[in-house]
Symmetry: C2
Subunit: 346 residues, 2 copies
Amino acid sequence: MASTTAESPRQRVTSYDVARLAGVSQSAVSRCFKPGASVSRKMRARVMKAAEQLGYQPNAIARSLISGRSNTAAVVISSNTALYFPEILVGLNRNLAQRGVRALLFTLEQESDIDRLLDQVLQYQVDGMIVAARLSAPQIDAIERRAVPFVLYNRSFRDRQVNAVCCDQSEGERWLVDALIEAGHQRFGIISGPGDSSVSMERTEGALARLRELGAKHISVVEGDFGYHSGGTGLKKLRDRIGAHPDAVICANDTMALGCLDAARHEYGLAVPEDLSVVGFDGVGPARWTSYNLTTVRQPVSRMTEAAVSMILERVDNPQLQPEKRFFSGEMIPGNSARLAPAAAR
Amino acid sequence: MASTTAESPRQRVTSYDVARLAGVSQSAVSRCFKPGASVSRKMRARVMKAAEQLGYQPNAIARSLISGRSNTAAVVISSNTALYFPEILVGLNRNLAQRGVRALLFTLEQESDIDRLLDQVLQYQVDGMIVAARLSAPQIDAIERRAVPFVLYNRSFRDRQVNAVCCDQSEGERWLVDALIEAGHQRFGIISGPGDSSVSMERTEGALARLRELGAKHISVVEGDFGYHSGGTGLKKLRDRIGAHPDAVICANDTMALGCLDAARHEYGLAVPEDLSVVGFDGVGPARWTSYNLTTVRQPVSRMTEAAVSMILERVDNPQLQPEKRFFSGEMIPGNSARLAPAAAR
DNA sequence: TTGAAAGCGATACCAC
DNA sequence: GTGGTATCGCTTTCAA
């Protein structure tokens, strides 16, 4: 194993090494590795041969320093989201990679942890950031001052022009509520997500607003944490509060809805959807599994991640572009975890 | 919105700007941002004030170039793993972040896609790499030549000294097989993962070896893709091949096991575990959900990710360290998706 | 088309 | 403790 050190007396192979071996200037080597440069066939061949021989790869760090572009983008996302809906992270990274940009990953234990992170993100000179966490106005100011393009994923900012890609949460909740009301449900329970999650807030508020609009009288809201277990404990809290089980439970995400559904069936012996309707939001994989077949609204993740990446990269090339907000409608998926009026299956 | 450009005539604030404003040398500014440097209180105060005023943050790219450390590590992982077992990615990133290192994310559509990626990874001058994909011997050579510390996650390399953190797949499969045999199962089905996954191979081989060792006569193996649906189609293939349903199905991961379980119950009307036993591997979240309660072997993810990160960072500081392989035992989780002899519940 | 030389923005080493 | 200066490895004018 000592051979590895013996084999390579020089740790890093630079363009100077290649130039020396090929008998050309260092600038020539640089040009050979630049896509649209003007180099003679002969020169290119010699350089490439030398490079191969030495195992030369251009140093991306040095390139970034001079060119002012790092070809990296920060992806800031809560651990919860990464765990319960990994499709987003995978989708963002896939789209970035396809366009030659690497993702620098920042996960947050709490959505509010972003305060400490922002400085770090900017130190790394990322070309752009995709942020799936709640930013405050001063934080947005800070980013804009540094002139780093950013796009918010699934959160927007009222009274402020920022780039954002969102699933229309209110619309989705409206569909769900409409369908539930139409089917005659009366006592509603809502299990929200953690208090510092804006996605949870939008969904919960959206559902509440529509319920009130349609004249629902009995509504209880309890707080969950987006995790499976909090679906079950949420249902318990609702039963305790109401003194009976609600007719329908609206959960701020699918994972909680599945926990709620399991608790209803296996813990309380309720028939779903006959005794109790359960709906979620997201369209995660398990929601479609045969044991659940959850009624939910699916986020169009691949279109949304594609949009987020496009928006960010457009703005790297052209910082003058106006901020843009893109809203995507979800897709109502009428599973059989909720009693719905036939017409509601849109 | 035009105000943002007007506010910041100079895009980047450098240490020279801070030095000028504070009336000190540029080196002084640099020192103030270096943890253990010797700076007078007075100087530090002045510099920090100026830095704050200008919104200065040291440029990590420039720092990396001179210091030879980028404070980034590459995490190479298949999309499948990221989707079906996000705990690994989240765990790795959490541990890296705690120690001041950022993860540069590389996801692979196919485990074998790594060929094209390796050069890219190295260009970014990562301090180390954590690789959850199968590497070939020449690829390992290439990395070692570049003197970048790396650690394999859940794969090892026979006949070769490399750093690796592994869950002992064979041991886990042995536990499962022992328990199934002891409970009297006779006809076995195995649903493997994709052909290019080494994790799948180790698990499948491990189970097969033990089954043969214990004299099992009837064993069929079909290939899946680690996804939920391939659990169901795998079961179908097994039934077709055997002409009846097997007594027990051993799946190369939990997600397929859950698909298999659902198909058995809801598609074929089989009682699980009375008619059919199903076991998986990993210990993903849904395996513990009430609807499933899967018999499986849990990977100790948090210990493993912690180990992987420690190993890599130790070797960044001290490249001379000998390669090390760390095997972690899984934890047998006797759910009720399989009939097991009472004693087998270890 | 090619080569020489000037940076990019830090750190590190050296005198003082 | 502080300031000057070389340096990291590349891209990018600018002449030739």
